[in-house]
């Protein structure tokens, strides 16, 4: 029999249902794999070994339950999701040791669906970053090449799934933080429509952008995880009442019935040679299979990076004002007075990228600059949303690269914030527009590193997105398993 840690969520679910193995056997296999690979990839911040075993044993004792679509399936959570009784750091020193007294709605729903939380994964501090190098605790390594970044900010989640520590994970995507690490690690990552999944109990970064979603190894697995978590929530006023579709059973179209729009602004940039070659080959395969590719222009996209970093930083500066060393989290020792308590707790507890974005956000919100930057960026955001909606009237879905480069060497851009912001160009427009996007492996470059493409859809039409994802998975070359010596 295949090693249990190699199974996808759908495969593992079938095996559990047919009693080919128990939940505990599956969890033990994943824990063993995690222990073997974790010293190489550093994907996790907390491993919940005993709670996972206990939960698996409880599920086994109660027996398989058709009401629980994730029965016995091991998952990880990015360390921004509040999980009762476990540390939640958001990758920051300022939250080190904090145990939230409440639980995120996503976590509650995953548990109710029968999932087993095995670990909490590393991320850039407060999800601000594209490489997971801005975690205050450690950089995560890409399982395809341990000298390279896994992407970010959900880099721990993507590296963990790619290393087969668990078959699925939950992350968050504010500017690409699910789709980009999924692409750089050869996984599948879904950013649902803003408001599709509750944000309650998720450490906030940019509240009009943040959206939780799954990372796994297939679109079908992502559908399973979205189905278990989507829907309104009385604890999050922005969780939409829009009906939840059948993501798992959504009907596929034939390749010949699918028209994908290619936003020119995202395809005409400078690509790293291996990335460009792999993307060209992906397009060639899709065309050969009968998929219609149609070039479109979304002129406002050229303002995406500036608009995003103005708006998201503004929201971050507001959201992160709560970390003051008073009610929870880290307090600097021996403060002279209240101001000193605030300043030193924040300065010592928050890392350089987070401090930079707080300063930037405060700058664009300050009197004299508000109209030139903040308001203007919000106006540009509307143009981007309008361009987006217009483009989607001319095709079924949009198809775009996820990143112009593959995983880069650790440390390559750490001192160059503007360049890393610009690398987010291909993922940010979706968060500005608010729609759903699915990142899929497009193949391996000649350098052995994965390359991703993303399908981008209409708001709340994740069903069509995931169905098309299943079609594309069959047409694009599979990336296989990273050559991880474990």
């Amino acid at each position: 029999m295949t090693e249990l840690w190699r199974l996808t969520l759908v495969e593992a679910g079938q095996g559990l249902r047919k009693k080919e193995f128990s939940a505990l056997e599956l969890v033990e296999a994943c824990l063993e794999r995690l222990k073997a690979t974790e010293p190489l990839v550093d994907a996790c911040l907390t491993v919940l070994e005993e709670p996972a075993r206990r939960r698996a044993a409880e599920l086994d004792a109660a027996g398989w339950d058709p009401q629980k679509p994730l029965w016995g399936l091991p998952l990880t959570l990015k360390d921004v999701f509040c999980l009762s009784g476990a540390p939640t750091t958001a990758g920051s020193r300022i939250l080190e040791g904090w145990k939230p007294p409440y639980e995120a709605t996503v976590v509650k729903r995953l548990k109710q669906a029968g999932a087993i939380i095995v670990a909490k994964t590393n991320c850039d501090e407060f999800a601000m970053g594209s490489s997971t190098e801005f975690s205050a605790f450690k950089p995560t390594k890409n399982p395809w090449n341990l000298q390279r970044v896994p992407g970010g900010s959900s880099g721990g989640a993507a590296a963990s799934v790619a290393a087969r520590q668990t078959p699925g994970a939950f992350g968050t995507d504010t500017g690409g933080s699910i789709r980009q690490p999924a692409a750089l690690c050869g996984c599948v990552g879904l950013k649902p429509t803003y408001g599709r999944v509750s944000r309650y109990g998720i450490v906030a970064y940019g509240s009009s952008f943040d959206q939780a979603g799954p990372l796994a190894r297939s679109a079908a697995d992502c559908a399973l995880l979205l189905a278990a978590t989507a829907g309104p929530d009385g604890l999050d006023s922005t969780a939409s009442l829009h009906p939840v579709d059948d993501y798992v059973g959504a009907a596929e179209k034939k390749p010949g019935e699918l028209t994908l729009g290619l936003p020119r602004e995202l395809w005409e940039g400078d690509f790293a040679p291996e990335t460009g070659q792999t993307l060209d080959e992906a397009k060639r395969r899709l065309t050969a299979a009968g998929v219609k590719l149609k070039e479109l222009s979304l002129p406002s996209l050229r303002f995406s990076v500036a608009a995003y970093y103005v708006l998201a930083s503004a929201e971050a500066s507001t959201n992160l004002a709560r970390y003051d060393g008073v009610r929870y989290g880290r307090r600097a020792p021996g403060p002279e007075d209240l101001r000193d308590l605030y300043v030193r707790s924040r300065t010592e507890g928050l890392g350089p990228e987070v401090r930079r974005r707080i300063l930037l956000g405060t700058f664009v919100l300050s009197s004299g600059y508000y109209d030139a930057y903040f308001r203007k960026a919000a106006q540009v955001r509307r143009l981007i949303q309008q361009d987006w909606q217009a483009a989607l009237q001319r095709c079924d879905l949009l198809l775009a690269p996820v990143s112009s480069v593959q995983a880069w060497p650790l440390g390559a851009f750490i001192d160059d914030p503007l360049t890393t912001y610009q690398l987010d160009m291909m993922t940010l427009p979706l968060n500005l527009a608010g729609g759903p996007g699915l990142s899929l492996p497009a193949g391996l470059g000649a350098d052995g590193l994965p390359v991703g493409v993303q399908l981008l859809g209409r708001a709340f039409d994740e069903a069509a997105l995931l169905a098309a994802g299943r079609t594309l998975e069959r047409l694009l070359p599979p990336v296989g398993e990273p050559p991880l010596a474990a």
Partner: protein
């Protein structure tokens, strides 16, 4: 436009941070330099024609009706205690801070 050292220091005061992480002066200089580059890049927004365009502050397309204003079960009696238990410093039922007056 750029941001000079005095403007950066004023911003830092507003957000209760020390520039450069309170470490060596070089780190503060690097931060100001990076900041200038980033803000300079943001100036591309000047080229966008947004005359008459309403700002979009949330991408929600559909209106979000508020939920019914119904009383909910109060939290467990231990809820307040579990919040206070995470305080870096407390005095009885209160979060404690250095003396203000």
């Amino acid at each position: 436009m750029g941001v000079d050292a005095a403007a950066a220091a004023a911003l830092a005061r507003l957000v209760r941070l020390e520039l450069g992480g309170g470490g060596a002066g070089d780190e503060a200089l690097k931060l100001i330099e990076d900041f200038g580059k980033i803000v300079g890049y943001m100036d591309i927004l000047e080229q966008a024609d947004v005359a008459g365009v309403e700002p979009l502050y949330s991408p929600m397309i559909e209106p979000l009706p508020p939920r019914a204003d119904e009383p909910r079960e109060p939290g467990e009696p231990s809820a307040a205690e579990s919040l206070l238990a995470e305080a870096p410093e407390r005095v009885g039922r209160f979060f404690a801070v250095p003396k203000i007056l």
